[in-house]
């Protein structure tokens, strides 16, 4: 039976339109996976050295053991953001002669095959060989390794359980973050030493390997928690959206803006009422704090390099417009043919998008101005990037949008969501990010640093001045592409 289910899952993956990722997406994901694996491997090889430098004369193995808990906490958060739930569509299975428990077991077993469960090995294997086995017997090392394996597996099950829960209540993730932060604080200020406790436990396992059997309780418990949850939800009415009254916000004040207002209202409703654009918008808000990471003197260097200011400008001021605009006009793909039957001009469609992005980018500019306290030049570097974004990047996105290939499923979260991503997005992202950086260095050669920023800003200003011509041009192009777009959205 399980074999049957697995072959079903295999076909679902291979044949699913959602999963029919483009080659470009697969390559990019492959590179990302490789990058993380190599990083973990290198980290694993250097762990003994790093620990030795930080804690000379200490027992390195027990030091390592005492950080393990912090790793699992971070792992849990990252899994919430990036790991996908094993969502085999079990609706057709419910009618078949399969026990519900079999389906639940199967869903959980399948979920184990996940990159996040493989990644830690790149770190743990070198640590086990280089660090632990140096001072401990082979059996002790092996049992220590197995214990960590059990813990990884438990964390995986916990992550899935929480994610299923958060699927029903979106604020759950915030609660988790707050709870973890609270635990971190308790730990940090030495009220209760959680990580030390975990470290001691692992130390003990190295001394008395038999204790590790107790650890097995953890995954077993979590497994049954998951199964119980799944069994209680495996009904069709639980699958569909909850039938509750929606809080409906009134957007009629936007009608005062006339025709454009109507479309801006539509865009706002689109963003606010659908999971994918909403999570994207929240991410953009989170990105405003990204400046704390990049606008910080690197050690050994006084001044941070120019390209970081450019990158910061794009990401902080233009995160929303770039990530939202990348999928323009596919946000409207679900009802695109209806729009094409209406008396709306492409011009209005493009212009309202332009207006929305302008308002948001300008607000982001003002919101990020406090960074000028760190580096006063941010006042003009961000301004240059704001202008560049509106004048150059948006037309580029209009252009790449003409070749938009795939329908977007609005109901899924945007993190690690590659549904509707095609080569267009990957290729389109390059000029958006690398374009201004390379242009800047080109201009810098000619006009100096400040001249470089001024030139970027001027380019943007030209684009803004001619924006109605640009919109006219693209509305003609989009009209020509109309049938192609309809066909693409229908076939994906």
């Amino acid at each position: 039976m399980n074999q049957n289910l697995f072959s079903l899952a295999w076909r679902e993956t291979v044949r699913s339109a959602y999963w029919g990722k483009s080659l470009a997406t697969n390559i990019a994901l492959g590179i990302l996976a490789l990058y993380f694996s190599v990083n973990f491997l290198i980290l694993g090889l250097y762990v003994p050295k790093i620990l030795n430098e930080s804690f000379p004369n200490a027992d390195l193995v027990s030091k390592f053991n005492s950080i393990v808990l912090a790793y699992f906490a971070i792992d849990l958060i990252i899994r919430q953001l990036m790991q996908k739930l094993p969502t085999v569509s079990f609706k057709p299975l419910l009618l078949q002669n399969i026990r519900r428990r079999t389906i639940a077991n199967y869903l959980l077993t399948r979920s184990v095959l996940n990159f996040f469960n493989v990644l830690p090995f790149f770190l743990l294997v070198p640590v086990a060989i280089n660090l632990v086995s140096e001072t401990h017997t082979g059996t002790a090392t092996a049992v220590w390794f197995l214990s960590l394996l059990i813990l990884i597996f438990s964390n995986h099950l916990l992550a899935i359980y929480l994610k299923w829960r958060f699927n029903e209540a979106e604020y759950g993730f915030i609660i988790l973050l707050v709870a973890l932060a609270g635990l971190f604080a308790i730990n940090h200020f030495g009220i209760i030493d959680f990580s030390g406790g975990m470290g001691k436990l692992l130390d003990l396992i190295l001394l008395y390997p038999a204790i590790s059997i107790a650890l097995l309780l953890l995954p077993v418990l979590l497994y049954f928690l998951n199964v119980r949850f799944l069994l209680s939800r495996m009904f069709i009415n639980m699958l569909s959206a909850k039938q509750k009254e929606e809080k409906i916000r009134d957007y009629s004040w936007l009608d005062r803006l006339g025709e454009n207002g109507r479309f801006i209202a539509l865009e706002l409703k689109l963003i606010w009422r659908n999971k994918r654009p909403r999570s994207l918008a929240m991410l953009s808000v989170l990105f405003l704090s990204y400046g704390l990471l990049i606008y910080r003197p690197q050690h050994g260097q006084q001044e941070i390099p120019d390209f970081l200011f450019i990158l910061g400008g794009i990401l902080l001021v233009g995160m929303f417009s770039v990530s939202y605009g990348q999928f323009f006009p596919a946000w409207h793909s679900n009802y695109f043919s209806m729009l094409m039957c209406q008396r709306l001009t492409m011009k209005q469609f493009l212009r309202s998008f332009y207006m929305l992005v302008t308002v948001i980018s300008v607000s982001c500019y003002f919101l990020t101005l406090p960074y000028a306290l760190l580096y006063p030049k941010i006042i003009y570097t961000h301004l240059a990037m704001l202008l560049y974004n509106l004048g150059v990047n948006i037309p580029i996105m209009f252009w790449s949008g003409m070749y938009s290939k795939k329908r977007l499923d609005l109901s899924q979260s945007s993190a690690m969501n590659y549904q509707g991503v095609s080569a267009t997005q990957w290729l389109g992202a390059l000029p958006l990010m690398l374009g201004p950086i390379s242009l800047f260095y080109l201009f810098k050669l000619a006009f100096g640093t400040i001249g470089g920023y001024a030139a970027l800003g001027t380019l943007g200003l030209i684009g803004i001045l001619f924006h109605s011509l640009i919109i006219d041009f693209f509305s003609k192009q989009y009209r020509k592409q109309k049938h192609q777009l309809i066909r693409n959205y229908k076939n994906s």
Binding site: A241, Q243, E245, E246, K247, I248, D255, E259, R262, L266, K269, L270, R273, N274, N334, Y335, F336, S337, M338, M340, C341, Q342, R343, L344, L410, R479, K482, H483, I486, R487
Partner: protein
């Protein structure tokens, strides 16, 4: 009102629609029947310029739909649920379409009032997004939206499917009244022969992309059409 000339649609050299000549008069309720794959939806999509024809053209009130967009001013349509914006409430959706069709707020509410009976209290005033509506109610929203702004041509693909029996009766009456009152031309397809035979003033049977029957409505239309679709095997058995 609507002329179709030398229309051919082919996918990979397989002809799915081939209509050399078809004229639909003003005020006609034009019913289209045919089995799956007969080309009904394809024809409607070409009329709405959603897909391009391989050859030939559709002329709507003198406008070649492929070349100008002016036909949109007087054409309402509902093909399937992808014509709805799932994350809006019914009122918001009607408001959005009303704006595109240049109807004022008062006009819109007067217009919607006339459909109170058809809506059966399940559409308006619900704090629910269209995506959470049942299929039948989604259909009602789409059909009524297609009638907004006094269109002269209305294209409805399988409007009766998914509707409950009383709503099907109401819809028949609704379409007939709308056509009489406004002189609107309707293009309707459906699989329920009874509905389509009742509502339309002219019936066409499509088979494998070709028109095989074209009859004005008479007393015996329903029997004729039913006879056409009945499997031949059945006759041989007796």
């Amino acid at each position: 009102m609507l002329q179709i000339q030398n229309l051919i649609k082919a996918y990979n050299k397989e002809i799915v629609l081939n209509i050399p000549e078809l004229t639909i008069e003003k005020g006609e309720i034009f019913g289209l029947v045919g089995n799956n794959g007969a080309g009904k939806t394809t024809l409607f999509n070409i009329v709405l310029d959603l897909i391009t024809a391989s050859k030939g053209q559709v002329i709507s009130k003198g406008i070649i739909v492929r070349e100008s967009e002016d036909w949109k001013d007087f054409t309402g349509s509902f093909i399937d649920e992808t014509f709805l914006i799932g994350y809006l409430t019914a009122e918001e959706y009607f408001g959005f379409i009303a704006g595109l069709r240049r109807m004022s707020k008062t006009e819109t509410s007067i217009f919607l009032e006339t459909y109170t009976d058809f809506f059966n209290g399940e559409i308006l005033g619900k704090k629910k997004f269209i995506r959470d509506f049942s299929k039948g109610n989604q259909k009602k929203v789409g059909i009524v939206a297609a009638l907004m702004g006094k269109p002269e041509i209305v294209v409805l693909d399988e409007p009766f499917a998914n509707l409950d029996p009383s709503s099907q009766y109401k819809l028949r009456k609704l379409i007939k009244n709308f056509a009489v009152q406004n002189g609107t031309t309707f293009l309707i397809s459906d699989h329920t022969l009874e509905n389509i035979a009742d509502v339309s003033t002219r019936l066409i049977i499509l088979e494998k992309g070709k028109i095989v029957r074209d009859v004005p409505k008479t007393e015996t239309t329903l029997q004729d059409v039913e006879a056409f679709f009945k499997p031949v095997v059945e006759a041989e058995m007796f």
